[in-house]
């Protein structure tokens, strides 16, 4: 299981939800969606230009360990990352893709911390936890 900044774990039910939704690598997809959530929160406070700058720098840094992440450089918005994950990385092993997306997420969070200290980490953590809870509720319905 992968631990994210909010302390939540990528539990089995979450994996099932993701797998049901798009059939791609669920763990990596989860990490990608978390990146998206983080960037959405950054966007609300710091604007789209900062989001793009942070994301590109994070992709560049993570790509030093996972060179295939360079394929994401063509994207212009963080929101596009989860949608294009399957399309861009059909040839990458699931474990490696998950590790790469996790690395990307950690870079994004580190950037937010450098820019805003602890100001935004709390709201980001709350938002992600809330989303996880929502997803959990939806899973219960099904």
């Amino acid at each position: 299981m992968t631990t994210y900044m909010c302390g939540g774990h990528c539990s089995g039910w979450m994996v099932k939800v993701m797998a049901a939704q798009n059939g791609c690598n669920p763990g990596a997809d989860m990490a990608a969606r978390t990146v998206q959530l983080v960037m959405e929160q950054v966007y609300l406070v710091l604007g789209v230009a900062t989001v793009e700058a942070v994301l590109r720098a994070a992709i560049k840094t993570a790509a030093q360990r996972y060179p295939f992440l360079d394929r994401l450089s063509q994207l212009t918005l963080a929101s596009e990352i989860p949608a294009h994950l399957c399309r861009y990385f059909p040839d990458i092993a699931p474990d490696e893709l998950l590790a790469a997306m996790d690395a990307l997420l950690q870079e994004c969070i580190a950037a937010v911390r450098e820019l805003t200290g602890d100001i935004m980490l709390g709201p980001i953590s709350e938002e992600i936890s809330w989303r996880l809870d929502q997803a959990k509720q939806e899973d219960k319905l099904y």
Partner: protein, 763 residues
């Protein structure tokens, strides 16, 4: 009322001060304890009054005792006051008591009265110049004070007194709430929440600050003003010790500026640099090393934006709160803007949002400053270049005239002005060419005008000589004028430029040279005539002797004509004739300079002349073989026989001179219906293509090491051309370096005799 206006402007009239007061009461009803209620009320009041600082202070120990069960201290709540100020206003109750009994609402705007209260005098140092004091408590017991401060002396006078009283009542109700339970006050309840009202007022204030900030940044014209604008704007919303601005230029260079509002320690500056560098890396800016950056940063600490409250405090020791925002230009990050403070948790999300907006303003302002700086640099460089050009034009030894596309003079340098001084004294800039030429009768002025006009149509004129009148040692003032059109990069005509070069002294030298040549050649001719005459006489005598001996000569004995003496005399005669040709060339030159080369045309056989010259040339040379080919039957032409011999002789002399030992020189005569063509080909050193055009100029000799080894004065071909052209023919050369040359000239079958033009360059 100002306060009311702010509220109404921000919310479209949905909120007014009285509803705000009612909602303030609602928050009191929901507060868990008096201290929390007072704090929240204080926040509301500050917004409502648009005051930057306020405090709730208990009056005496009895009041404190009543409230101590809720752990309320002397200074119940304070906002917008530095620790230094807070220390002083703890003494406020005693100080106010010295003023006597105050009214329930007291506004102190008189500065003298204000400073008479010692704690207020301390706040004056922080810029707070007026105060509003509300007395708290029941009518018979003063339990504390509610005090607000503002930097503007007249601020509280403009507020609605009824609203102030209502606010005061809320505070008093809370203070009363601290009193034992049997005296619970009646507090109004309200179902609505306070948050929307607070948010609306805060948003309005924020928008106003952003608007004001935008105006300040737009007005900034240099970096210092941008720094000032940044600090002045940001300090309205949050407290910070320093602002850091890291900028990258287009070449990848970086510059870090730290603007301090507070004394900073070296460790604080070091921390700030590290934070900025890490933040810069996180948004894709080039990685920097903090240590060198810390040593080269620019530290600014303007007095007018310093935080007066903290000036006497120890320097900020290290960074405990930091936030950063990228600076963007054309959607690309160009730097980082950071705020740093030594206090913990000094910044919140609201600060971050405002900071983000201000960072965008700052980026635009800084980019504008950079563009202005670039523009100023370019302008200074252009001015310097312009001055340099003006200096060059003024220093030229030649006259310079520049006209624009419509023929108006835009530049006239001092030399040109001097040249025009006598013939066109009114010549000046911004005059048209037509006006210049119209004000003078001198033909050369008109000629200059025509030359410039021709250049305005695209024509280039080179070295056109003009006589400008006035004589110096019998040589008139002579100018060489060159003119060309001026075009921009797209080929559009911008005007024309003409250079006037005074070549009078050159002409003087030429004239002196010509006179010298004429005198010398006359002096040379006399002894030469004698040498040639006596040599010919001796040769004829030997020929007659040979004829007289005739058949009586012993068959085995050598012929007198084969004797050493005869051959030597033949060579002497041939060289004498060669020397005579040189002298004649010099004489001809002087004739040509005077514009006349006399010719004596008569019919003669061109083939015979060619053969005769070839024979005498062969006699004079033993090392080369001269071949003759005549491809015409009738070679009768009309011309000056002697002059044509001179032409052939000059060309043959050159062919022999430049041919190698054992080389072959071929002389040929061809004919077509219109003309005869004589060609003389050698196997000599050849002529390089650049010199082939000039080879027929007077005194021209090819300037290379090989050619300089051969004697000659460079006149033979010049005179040959003049003679040929005077006969209506033409002369040319075909040559390849190292492989020889072919000199050819034509003579028309039909006579065409005229005096040769002397000076091809004259007017």
């Amino acid at each position: 009322m100002r306060q009311v206006q702010i509220m109404r402007a921000g919310t479209g009239g949905a909120i007014n001060s009285w509803r705000f007061i009612k909602e303030a009461a609602a928050c009191v009803a929901t507060a868990p304890n008096p201290a929390a209620a007072l704090s929240q009320l204080l926040d509301i009041a500050l917004l409502a009054l648009d005051a930057p600082a306020g405090a709730v202070i208990r009056m005496d120990d009895e009041a404190a005792a009543l409230l101590t069960r809720h752990e309320v201290r002397t200074l119940v709540a304070a906002r917008g006051l530095s620790p230094y100020a807070q220390q002083h206003i703890r003494e406020l109750p005693a100080a106010l008591a010295s003023l006597g009994t105050l009214a329930a609402l007291t506004t102190i705007t008189d500065l003298a009265l204000y400073t008479a209260v010692p704690p207020f005098a301390a706040l004056l140092e922080e810029g707070f110049a007026s105060a509003f004091i509300g007395s708290l408590g029941a009518s018979d017991r003063l339990q504390g004070y509610l005090v607000f401060w503002h930097r503007d002396c007249g601020h509280f006078d403009r507020l609605d007194q009824r609203m102030l009283a209502a606010l005061l009542a809320q505070f008093s109700a809370v203070v009363q709430w601290g009193i034992p339970a049997d005296k619970e006050p009646e507090l109004p309840t309200h179902g609505e929440t306070l948050a929307p009202a607070l948010n609306a007022v805060a948003a309005t204030r924020q928008l106003q600050r952003i608007k004001d900030a935008g105006q300040v940044f737009v007005a900034a014209t240099d970096r210092t003003q941008v720094h000032h604008a940044l600090i002045a704007t940001l300090k309205q919303t949050c407290h910070f010790a320093a602002c850091a601005i890291l900028l990258f230029d287009s070449e990848g260079g970086s510059e870090l500026t730290v603007v301090a509002r507070h004394p900073l320690s070296a460790a604080f500056v070091h921390d700030t640099v590290h934070h900025v560098v890490r933040a810069a890396t996180r948004i894709g800016l080039p990685a920097l090393s903090p240590e060198p950056l810390a040593q080269t940063l620019y530290l600014d600490a303007p007095d007018d934006i310093a935080d007066d409250a903290t000036l006497n405090e120890p320097p900020a020791d290290r960074v405990r709160s930091f936030m950063a925002n990228p600076l963007f230009s054309k959607n690309k990050p160009i730097g980082i803007l950071g705020l740093a403070d030594d206090g913990e948790n000094m910044f919140n999300e609201e600060h971050l949002r405002f900071f983000s907006v201000i960072a965008d303003y700052a980026a635009v302002a800084l980019e504008n400053v950079r563009l202005r700086e670039d523009e100023r640099r370019l302008w200074e460089a252009a001015m310097l270049e312009h001055q340099r050009l003006e200096l060059v034009i003024a220093s030229m030894a030649e006259g310079l005239i520049i006209v624009d596309e419509v023929g108006r003079i835009t530049h006239l340098n001092p030399v040109a002005r001097n040249l025009f001084a006598s013939a066109a004294p009114g010549a000046r800039e911004w005059q048209s060419l037509a006006h210049l030429t119209g004000q003078s009768d001198a033909p050369w002025i008109a000629a200059v005008g025509e030359i410039l006009s021709a250049s305005l149509t695209g024509k280039v004129v080179m070295n056109h000589e003009l006589l400008a009148g006035a004589t110096i040692d019998s040589v008139p003032l002579t100018l060489s004028v060159s003119s060309a059109p001026c075009r921009d990069a797209s080929g559009r005509l911008l005007g024309a430029v003409a250079v006037l070069n005074d070549i009078t002294h050159v002409k003087q030298i030429d004239r002196l040279k010509d006179e010298f040549v004429s005198v010398v050649s006359h002096e040379l001719r006399t002894p030469l005539t004698s040498i040639k005459g006596y040599t010919q006489h001796l040769l004829r005598r030997m020929e007659r002797q040979s004829q007289a001996i005739g058949s009586d000569r012993d068959p085995g004995a050598p012929s007198p004509l084969a004797s050493y003496e005869y051959r030597s005399l033949s060579i002497v005669q041939s060289q004498a004739e060669h020397l005579e040709r040189l002298v004649n060339d010099l004489l001809d030159l002087s004739h040509l300079q005077r514009g006349r080369l006399p010719l004596h045309p008569a019919p003669f056989k061109l083939g015979d002349v060619l053969a005769e010259v070839v024979r005498w040339a062969q006699i004079s040379t033993e090392q080369q073989v001269i071949q003759l080919e005549i491809h015409a039957d009738d070679t009768t032409v009309v011309g000056d026989r002697a002059r044509i011999m001179q032409v052939i002789g000059n060309i043959l002399d050159n062919a022999i001179k430049y041919s190698p030992e054992g080389g072959v020189v071929k002389a040929s005569l061809d004919a077509n219906p219109l003309e005869f063509v004589i060609s003389i080909a050698d196997q000599g050193i050849g002529i390089n293509p650049d010199a082939q055009e000039q080879i027929f100029d007077r005194f021209y000799r090819v300037n290379d090491l090989i050619s300089r080894q051969y004697s000659g004065i460079g006149l033979g071909l010049y005179v040959a051309r003049a003679i040929v052209e005077a006969h209506g023919g033409r002369i040319w050369v075909e040559s390849q370096e190292g492989q020889g040359s072919i000199f050819s000239f034509t003579l028309p079958r039909l006579p065409h005799i005229g005096h040769s033009g002397a000076n091809k360059q004259g007017c």
